[in-house]
């Protein structure tokens, strides 16, 4: 399999591209999407905090599956990422 130069994904419906091998979080930050979700009770914005899977602040919806840690999952071509 040949490595491609960039892969396409969407965040909240808008198209973006990223370098293969990036995490979802890295790809989102790189495309200037800092706010990944808002909190349940007070609707406060959240972004990457620890970046290593411990704090659960960077939760997003990945292909309809909620509560996924953006900092741990490698971005794959065609992924539909949504803020939650």
């Amino acid at each position: 399999m040949k490595p491609t130069q960039s892969i396409d994904f969407t965040f909240d419906g808008a198209p973006y591209s990223a370098i293969p091998g990036q995490t979802i979080a890295a790809a989102l930050i790189n495309s200037s999407n800092r706010i990944l979700r808002s909190t349940r009770f007070e609707n406060q914005p959240r972004t990457i905090f620890c970046g290593i899977g411990i704090c659960f602040d960077c939760l997003v919806i990945v292909d309809e599956l909620r509560n996924q840690r953006a900092c741990l999952i490698e971005l794959l071509p065609g992924m539909r990422i949504e803020s939650q």
């Binding site: 349940r40 309809e64 599956l65 909620r66 509560n67």
Partner: protein, 380 residues
């Protein structure tokens, strides 16, 4: 406090409620627990206060009264324990004949029921599987946060001059000429004319210490907890098999579907029942079955991940009725235990009933069906 008017053993919801009622009758009450507040079955359930799962009879009468007491307590003290009349919906997956018969008989005994056609059902629970077309709504079904409720009751007992001693394992019960005289813990000795055994699944141990007997056994249950999600489930929703499982005496594994959301956004999924002693060994097959049943009721849950699960031991009495009353073998020893999966709901009613008996007041209902003597006749 070395000479309390009464000692309650057990700081679960049943013991705490009992201590609250006794202190309300003017008694100085000491509460002992071998662990801490709500460290047994109280913290292993969903905080259910249900009338929907009870067939007409003494337990339903107690449950209705008890529900009233829960809401009286909430009126006095606001939101201390997250009491919520969320309502229960029982759905029939196939034939709804037995569910409708049960609803009719409950209605004749003071339960508010509302039969639901498919359209009404799906308006109340929009994520319910579209094939399910019949159910009954029970607006009286409620839920609370049982650990908070227990702590709240104990705090009020202390406010009335009572005391709570955690990590106090009762090692001996002392008596004098057929009457209780006190008890011993690892480090202390107390004298008292009244001991209430509210140790739930472990109540048989206390009865044995007193030279008596209670046939209470653990009936294990697992509950799955999902990650927090938007509100998909608006009531306590369960399938009509649940009622027959609760009432059954089978020792083998039984599962029925019970699904409900919580204020924090997680969804709780039950319920399994099996008699395997006090084993905590995880049976992955049970967890799988609970998850599969829940997704068949609410397909939206297929895309929701689980966060964790927990297990607990319901105090099971052979006839499924709680044991509330004075011991047949030792005067002054009282029991309030064996509430199985209904301890949260039945706690204030049981407390009122036992307090009325202890103080010689008129009881609000016939207490005889709950008497320990039904298991102790002929005991010496």
């Amino acid at each position: 406090m070395k000479n309390p008017d009464a000692i309650v053993i057990g700081a679960g919801i049943v013991g705490a409620s009992c201590a609250l009622a006794l202190s309300g009758a003017g008694m100085k009450v000491l509460i002992l627990d071998r662990g801490s507040i709500a460290s047994g079955t109280t913290s292993a359930g969903e905080g259910n206060i249900l009338v929907s799962d009870k067939e007409p009879g003494p337990e339903l009468e107690l449950a209705l009264r008890s529900r009233g007491l829960w809401f009286e307590m909430a009126e006095e003290h606001g939101r201390a324990f997250e009491l919520e009349a969320k309502g229960g919906i029982v759905v029939a997956r196939h034939d709804d004949k037995s569910l409708m018969e049960l609803a009719r008989s409950q209605e004749q005994h003071g339960v508010t029921v509302q039969r639901l056609h498919a359209k009404e059902l799906h308006e109340l629970e929009p994520y319910l599987h579209p094939d399910i077309s019949s159910g009954v709504f029970y607006p009286q079904d409620a839920q609370c946060q049982p650990m908070l409720a227990t702590a709240y009751a104990i705090k009020r007992v202390i406010g009335r001059g009572g005391e709570f001693v955690p990590h106090a394992l009762v090692t001996a019960i002392t008596s004098d000429r057929g009457r209780i005289s006190g008890l011993k813990t690892g480090s202390e000795e107390y004298s008292t004319p009244i001991v209430v055994n509210a140790t739930g699944t472990w109540a048989g141990d206390i009865a044995s210490l007193a030279g008596s007997f209670l046939p209470i056994a653990p009936r294990r249950g697992f509950i799955l907890v999902t990650t927090p999600v938007p509100q998909y489930i608006f009531h306590k929703v369960y399938d009509s098999d649940y009622v027959s499982n609760v009432a059954s005496s089978n020792a083998d594994l039984q599962t029925s579907t019970v699904v409900e959301g919580t204020k924090s956004g997680t969804i709780l999924i039950g319920a399994s029942r099996e008699r395997v002693g006090f084993s905590r060994e995880v049976n992955i097959e049970i967890l799988r079955r609970l998850a599969a049943q829940a997704t068949s009721l609410f397909p939206v849950l297929r895309n929701v991940e689980l966060l964790r699960f927990y297990s607990g031991f319901r105090p099971y009495a052979p006839d499924h009725l709680p044991i509330i009353g004075e011991d047949s073998n030792l005067q002054g020893l009282w029991h309030s235990a064996g509430h199985e999966g209904a301890g949260i709901g039945l706690a204030p009613g049981s407390a009122a009933l036992i307090t009325q008996q202890i103080t010689g007041a008129k009881t609000f209902m016939d207490a005889r069906p709950f008497s320990p003597s039904r298991f102790q006749m002929g005991a010496s």
